[in-house]
Symmetry: C2
Subunit: 767 residues, 2 copies
């Protein structure tokens, strides 16, 4: 995709010309979702050019047979794939028997808009068919937030230079295959298809996992805005059902087809009720109608934006980008269902498979906590709580005992999917993120009750993992953690990764502290959990022993913690000396060369400093930043945001802004030439963090909501809104002042640049 392909606009993503080479990238960027299902912005009509037809339903996956070069004990048998679902958006169009296909027509005008404020996608274009018929098409569609099993399309056609016959064939295609399939297998079985007047449905189920899905559509037609009844012809194939309507139109008449689609599936309904529910959904959609549903859509998106929007004045591209990120996060996950999570590609593609990485705990929870009610973040925690049994089984498989848990690197149902030993078995810091997520949630929301009720079990199981995973080194007279991969995946199988060791120590200490607290404050819960987990005092002793004596590699010469043992054996050459032609190094260097270099993929020691910033003074933070950032190649989309936040913390606003630019428009400008595969959903939360925690300097340590607002010189002002313990607070920062507006009915005391400030209900404070 070309840079500058997207037209800058504060509230919409716009493309104003047609370029075949950009179609599949656009399909990702213009994707629609409503938190439970989503679809790429595929054209409704046939498109024979390069495209990835993609529709996805949250929670529905397939355990694809894994592909492994060299098998290792403990590898999972399958890799859960995000499952490309039956396509209900398709509408084949024939104009005087010629197929409308933008790959074979001349496209004389083209305008596509993803309206983020209101949550819909529109496309208007004029095409000249090979027979020289000119036709104008407008299609508009959305996936309803209010009725989240429903989507709607309005598809209008106007002949510009001819009278003639238009035939429209809306269809459901259940013969969709995954692009991401290890052995090119088909993952569905079609069970049944039903056709009625102006509607049809296909019921299919996934192989192996046995998810049942009824995909259904209902059709309505209008001519020049008047309802139109047409004879329906039906074409039913084994995996596809198509209705066909033919109409004579004269020049400048407009023929409109409304298509309502629905997915009804067995995670939410009884199997034998699926068709019935689907019919009732479609009836409801038809009754409310396209415009009615659209009005509700605007309402619901307005509510989301109310607490989630970030405004940036003076930089429309930055404005567009941050809204795009917030919009896509909300399209991916809305937090009403603890069985769902946030996939790395959301509903915009299927690459990487699985739905859940440590990204959720490290990057997404802060966003959802601050922009939604606390039950949303709680659902993300419960997702892991519900997978605890499987995490314990996973640890057992690797030789751990006694209820120790190792959460998976990638999962869809709690079981590990990933199969690269250096990640699957060794990137164990993810286990700490589970506990950090709990701490972060409780610390931000004040909902301490989560710990006795749910959190403690997870904390104990993870603490058990850590004390077992550490070994005592006689040589160092300390506990060491050998053979790990840190967040910087450009090091594998290293010893004493600082981040991992520090996090392990913290996890144990946090668990022990809370055990002590619960003994007195929540004794019933404490008893229940102690009994359930069979925790012994001997184990507590072992945990304490490990935490108190864990080894943290440190260099006196540099005054910094070392990323791992022997880090200083490397040739330390800043990235500024790397020739441009060799970057990104992961596309130019062999893996061994990357591993033995000093180059850091993403924040590693600095990830620890970020999470535990309150334990480091500013001078120390600066020292670590100055040591590690120059060695960091930021070849993960999760890297720059952490560096923005730390750079802002040490008052390097220009550096913070430079880092910010590296992710803000990652997908919109397709930095890595890969957006066609899907958007980088989880890193979008990092961009939000970069503004709120970076420029805004928001911190919530020790039950205190603190800010240290700064502003890049390139912007006039920015503002964001957060929900902190029920208080809706808007922060507006310009070069001259910072305004805090309390939109709730209770007063709140905050700390601004170290000073306590009280913001009374429904008032604002200028600083």
């Amino acid at each position: 995709m070309n840079k500058d392909f997207i037209v800058p606009n504060a509230w919409s993503i716009i493309v104003d010309h047609f370029n075949k080479a950009d179609v599949s990238a656009s399909e990702s960027i213009f994707s629609l979702g409503n938190g439970v299902m989503g679809q790429r912005a595929n054209f409704e009509e046939k498109y024979s050019g390069n495209s990835l037809q993609g529709s996805y339903i949250g929670g529905i996956y397939y355990p694809d047979k894994t592909r492994v070069g060299w098998w290792k004990n403990g590898y999972p048998e399958y890799f859960a794939k995000v499952l490309n679902a039956p396509n209900w958006i398709g509408i084949n169009v024939k104009v005087n028997k010629q197929t409308l296909d933008l790959n074979t027509c001349e496209v004389t005008s083209f305008y596509q808009e993803l309206n983020m404020k209101e949550g819909w996608l529109e496309r208007t274009f004029t095409a000249v068919l090979p027979n020289e018929n000119q036709i104008k098409i407008t299609s508009k569609r959305f996936l309803s937030l209010r009725y989240n099993e429903i989507g709607a399309i309005k598809y209008s056609l106007t002949p510009l230079n001819f009278d003639g016959e238009i035939s429209l064939s809306p269809y459901i295609d259940a013969g969709i295959v995954n692009q991401d399939a290890n052995y090119d297998e088909y993952f569905w079985k079609v069970l049944d298809s039903v056709v009625s007047t102006n509607s049809a449905a296909i019921t299919s189920k996934t192989l192996k996992t046995n998810f049942y899905v009824c995909t259904a559509m209902a059709i309505a037609l209008k001519l020049n805005n008047e309802p139109l009844i047409l004879k329906q012809t039906t074409v039913t194939k084994s995996k596809k059902v198509k209705l066909k309507y033919t109409q004579q139109v004269t020049q400048n008449q407009t023929l409109t087809l409304y298509k309502y689609g629905t997915y009804v599936q067995s995670m939410n309904h009884k199997k034998n009720a699926l068709l019935k529910v689907a019919k009732s959904n479609l009836q409801q959609a038809s009754e409310i109608g396209f415009e009615g549903l659209l009005a509700l859509q605007k309402e619901d998106w307005a509510a989301i934006w109310h607490t989630a929007d970030i405004k940036i004045e003076g930089d429309v591209k930055a404005q567009q980008a941050i809204r795009f990120n917030i919009f896509q996060l909300n399209q991916t996950y809305l937090g009403e269902d603890a069985r769902l999570n946030i996939g790395p590609k959301g509903f915009t593609g299927e690459k990487y498979g699985g739905s859940t990485y440590w990204d959720t705990e490290a990057y997404c929870i802060p966003f959802y906590m601050a922009t939604k009610d606390k039950h949303v973040a709680k659902n993300l925690l419960l997702y892991r709580y519900n997978h605890l049994e499987k995490a314990i089984k996973n640890a057992e498989k690797l030789g751990f005992t006694n209820g120790a848990a190792l959460y998976p690197m990638v999962t869809m149902n709690g079981e590990e999917c990933h199969n690269e030993w250096e990640i699957t078995f060794e990137e164990i810091h993810r286990n700490g993120a589970m506990v950090y997520g709990i701490y972060n949630y409780v610390n931000y929301t004040g909902d301490y009750a989560y710990i006795p009720k749910f959190g403690l079990e997870v904390m104990i199981a993870v603490a058990r993992f850590w004390y077992q995973r550490a070994t005592f080194s006689k040589d160092k007279n300390k506990y060491v953690i050998l053979g790990v991969t840190g967040p910087n995946e450009y090091e594998n199988n290293v010893n004493n990764n600082f981040y991992t060791n520090y996090l392990a120590q913290w996890c144990i200490n946090f668990t022990l502290e809370n055990i002590a607290k619960l003994k007195t404050d929540y004794s019933a819960d404490f008893e229940r959990v102690f009994t359930k987990t069979k925790l012994s005092t001997n184990e507590l002793e072992q945990m304490r022993e490990v935490a108190q004596n864990i080894y943290l590699p440190y260099s006196k010469d540099y005054g910094v913690f070392l990323q791992q043992d022997n880090f200083l054996d490397k040739e330390i050459i800043p990235t500024s000396f790397l020739p441009k032609s060799q970057r990104p190094i992961n596309q130019h260097w062999s893996w061994d060369r990357i591993l033995r270099s000093c180059y850091i993929k993403q924040a590693d020691v600095l990830q620890g400093i970020y999470l535990f910033e309150n334990n480091f003074d500013t001078e120390s933070i600066a020292k670590h930043f100055d040591f590690y950032e120059p060695l960091t190649v930021h070849e993960s989309s999760l890297s720059p945001c952490i560096h923005t936040i730390l750079a802002a913390k040490i008052n390097r606003i220009d550096k913070a802004y430079e880092m910010y630019l590296r992710t803000a428009r990652l997908d919109l400008d397709d930095y890595n030439h890969e957006v066609a595969e899907g958007c980088h959903i989880t890193s979008m939360a990092g961009t939000w963090m970069a503004i709120v925690q970076g420029f805004g300097g928001m911190r919530t340590f020790d039950n205190t909501l603190a800010f240290n607002p700064q502003i890049p010189s390139q912007w006039q002002s920015y503002s964001f809104t957060i929900n902190y313990r029920g208080c809706i607070l808007n922060v507006h920062k310009s070069h001259t002042e910072c305004v805090f507006t309390n939109e709730s009915n209770a007063s709140i005391t905050i700390e601004v640049s170290g000073e306590k400030v009280e913001v009374l209900p429904n008032t604002l404070v200028k600083i």
Copy 2:
């Protein structure tokens, strides 16, 4: 396979009963080969039970599409597979229209013998068919050493309790698929089949690699030893051609079918001459006849045994085992063709693919040097010399410059096949083995001219690799080698593996010494190579700098070199504490657990001590042995032999014998329950080394042939013969004396237990 399944016998491998469960294991053990082709001991007649039909032709491979979990830059696109070739041994048998198939008959007697002294396989059995016809079969076959494109079978049938009709259908089947195929593809294309009277041929070619092979057979028949002419029926299918002969026989008559087979292939002949050569081969075979060919076979094997045999008195199982190993090595490789090498499974199976590992240089060269004329080992060196260009290309792919070479981990044609980053990119010590092989050859044979003519180019390219691969550690003020895997593959991506660093240093020093020598002694060659390699004095300086300042990890506390940096951070728990239920650990532990344990797969530091024993005093060798052997799980077939040799060196003959037992009968007793996949060919050379260098104490450092013979108490005596610089010397060791017999016409001075001894021509010396 059951232990004790093989009947002990000094010269033959024998099975004296039929057990379906053992068939595929037997197929491996009883394999035949003649150095250029080989075949598993499949039954000639149909066998519907568990079996791997396998015929292999040296040098013919297929670049199978690689299977990778997670792609890394630098991985090869393909993995060269040993190619299962058309089967020419098949003879379908029907007795009164009933198919002879040992899987469905009752087998009332069964005797199978692989005669290693003479190089043939015989099988005699009595079967009762479902129709109660009893028949006795004797089949005998071999692959000719003298005419190495030819094999012969004599297949005789005697009805024991009936008169009736026997039909015999010898066939060629070119529809063979590899068991070892990543995507179950068929790797051949059949081009043509031709049938004449009593003969047939199929010409096929390999896909992608375009090797052309004509597989042909000729048939002769006898009844009670009288020539028999029968009507021939032909059945030709797309990939198979079958001739059918039917004969009425009466009880106790013997019907015999002779089948001569040949592979004629495009590595050795013009494509369009293949059929003609095949016909001429078969004509020659038919003229010489089965018994004539067999007589030549005995002659040729006698010549091999003359310089290769090891005799062990007082332990028939040990005798059988060592002969089996020597026999299989000779079946696999005879050293007349520098394009061939020694595959890990030889011609006995197809697992692991590729033909060449560092096993050749580290284990096989010593065997071939000592048991054959020097041109054989030289051909093994030339194999690598001829692959130098590709090794340089391989290094370039990984970022090395200036003509540095990295030889592949696994190869068939010089290109890397292996795709596991920790091995492919990091197990770089193999590169040192290439130079050690040259040193070893020159040192043993005295053929110094090899270095100026061929060796130097390889040495320079490898030395270049080492100085580039080392990096200077400011922290250590030494050159370090980061991110490697040593011979102990139970450690990955470690820093400063002692073996690798020591070998790198030695490689550079050896190269520099020889450059100095060549400058004066072989100045023309020196100039040629210097010009060809564009070696600069600056590079020589860099090499010297690295070699002089390389870091070797050492523990003062233990007085041993450490396997790698931070080895002492591990929990050091001897293998004697490992529960039996957890061994082998590679079948019970996840990979990360193995990696962070102290357990050693195979000799690593000790491999270095073995290769460079002359640089260590006995006390130091003992210290290293005592530190590392107790941590070694010997889960590679290449491990125990090195430990035998070192244990013998430090006069621990019982330990040496204990280690010896761990590999000697690895395949015959099927220790690892995997011999069905093929035999462990390369480790067989290690067993030979264990006797000659271990118990015999043979060393050849500094142009001196030395011995330090010891004998395990379990044996009465043992003897071996070596060819040292043209002198054929037999060493016979008993508990009372050691006899050295010089079978050549020149006197030789040897060192026995430190004393110089002259052995005059054609005489013996008792000590």
